[in-house]
Amino acid sequence: MRHLLSAGDLTRDEAVLVLDTAAQMAATQAREIKKLPTLRGRTVVNLFFEDSTRTRISFETAAKRLSADVINFSAKGSSVSKGESLKDTALTLQAMGADAVVIRHHASGAPHTLAHAGWTHGAVVNAGDGMHQHPTQALLDAFTLRRHLVGDGGRADVTGRDLAGAHVAIVGDVLHSRVARSNVQLLHTLGARVTLVAPPTLVPVGAGTWTADVSYDLDETLATGPDAVMMLRVQRERMSSAGGGYFPSPLEYTRAYGLDGRRLAVLPEHAVVLHPGPMNRGLEISADAADSPRAVIVEQVANGVAVRMAVLYLLLAGGDQRPGADAEDMEARTGVRTDGTRVHA
């Protein structure tokens, strides 16, 4: 991997490598001394053109735990509000010697442009672009799911395992959700079956071609016994007012698509509930569902740090930061010697 732009770019082996690396990173975070010297002297820039709490803090924590220097940049209060373009911002960061740029942007495709336009030589990590992709969120969701659903409910070693056979329901505002798009791709790559559940107005055109089933009835889907339910935030800032015509009223949305105690009781014993946050309590998820022991929402946040440490490690720790050698680099830099041989020469 040279960049992480889309969950769809990851092969099954690459995704499992990220999850295995994250598991080791998570183990280091249980220690008294959490900081590792691995990325000492490297600089990671957090370039955030859109508001974010947990993703930015998560990336900042991950980079600092690996001893990288972190520069935080948010569009508010910077030259962007004076009209500076993405290109000029990127060139400025390049001049300051950024080894990796973590970018969140309201425009879909901005990370791709940054990675391929030659404005920066560093690795580009997509931390959410428009309604397109949020690959590290999908990776942390997969990591959380693997911990709970694979290997006898977390008791056995899950190294090298994927999510084959798991059934995940993704419920809610699929239309505006980059989390849903990334998860559909990554969960499919890892062998899980995905069902999207949403009102017809919140299912994007073309969702029929995705590697997921589409359902308009939450109760019907829950009755099939999914292993996990991922609730999506209703992104009201992307709708005009009170639902913007996507649904008649918040109350009606909650009745048809909200997760509450009654629906939680229908789920199989081992099933877990995920939410990428921030939650609209009382809209897509009720308080008793959000606070139930089955909800692994807080754990997702902790796992996010481990997964982002793994991504930064895999992108930055290896040698040779040559620009423009993507395909070859991909081979060489993730060319893990799977037999574990250490040649002493």
Partner: protein, 202 residues
Amino acid sequence: MSTGTPAPASGRTDAVPDGTGTEVLGAADIGRALTRIAHEVVERNKGVEDVVLLGIPTRGLPLAERLAARLAHVEGVDAGDLVGSLDVTMHRDDLARQPIRPIGTTRLPSGGLDGRVVVLVDDVLFSGRTIRAALDAISDLGRPRAVQLAVLVDRGHRELPIRADYVGKNLPTAASERVRVLLQETDGRDAVLIEGARGTGR
């Protein structure tokens, strides 16, 4: 403490069937070396009460487990409490010169490291950089009373002021040669091979 036995200049250099290198230690030799090291560890530390064996993955770990089994046999203690695994990947200074390395598992025995004698166990001692990384990794995990080093093969060419306390075999090598340790647990058989310059033409 031990200097091991010097490698024969020629003599026991049976070519292995697959022709990938010259075998310098066989399964029986490795077993005898580990038994001797186990006794040396007991002797030097006057028992194994405070001893923790930390194997460095990949091949240091099975070696540490075998040593622990021998210590347990000699001293009558539980082998599981003696042995742990220490991954040093994230403390290496050559990460930027290598392809990405997978990160191994770090697992400490139940008593932790504080105040104990840590014996690091690895397969080959070469530049000493792995051991330097291991010393850094240990300092993040606790404060042992002492750290000792046991290796199956010392092949020379040190780049740092590091030496082993227990050596299975001193193996003088040319820098261009490669030393490979094969173990039953990871490779299906026990052997130490030399590949490269010296192995060719025989």
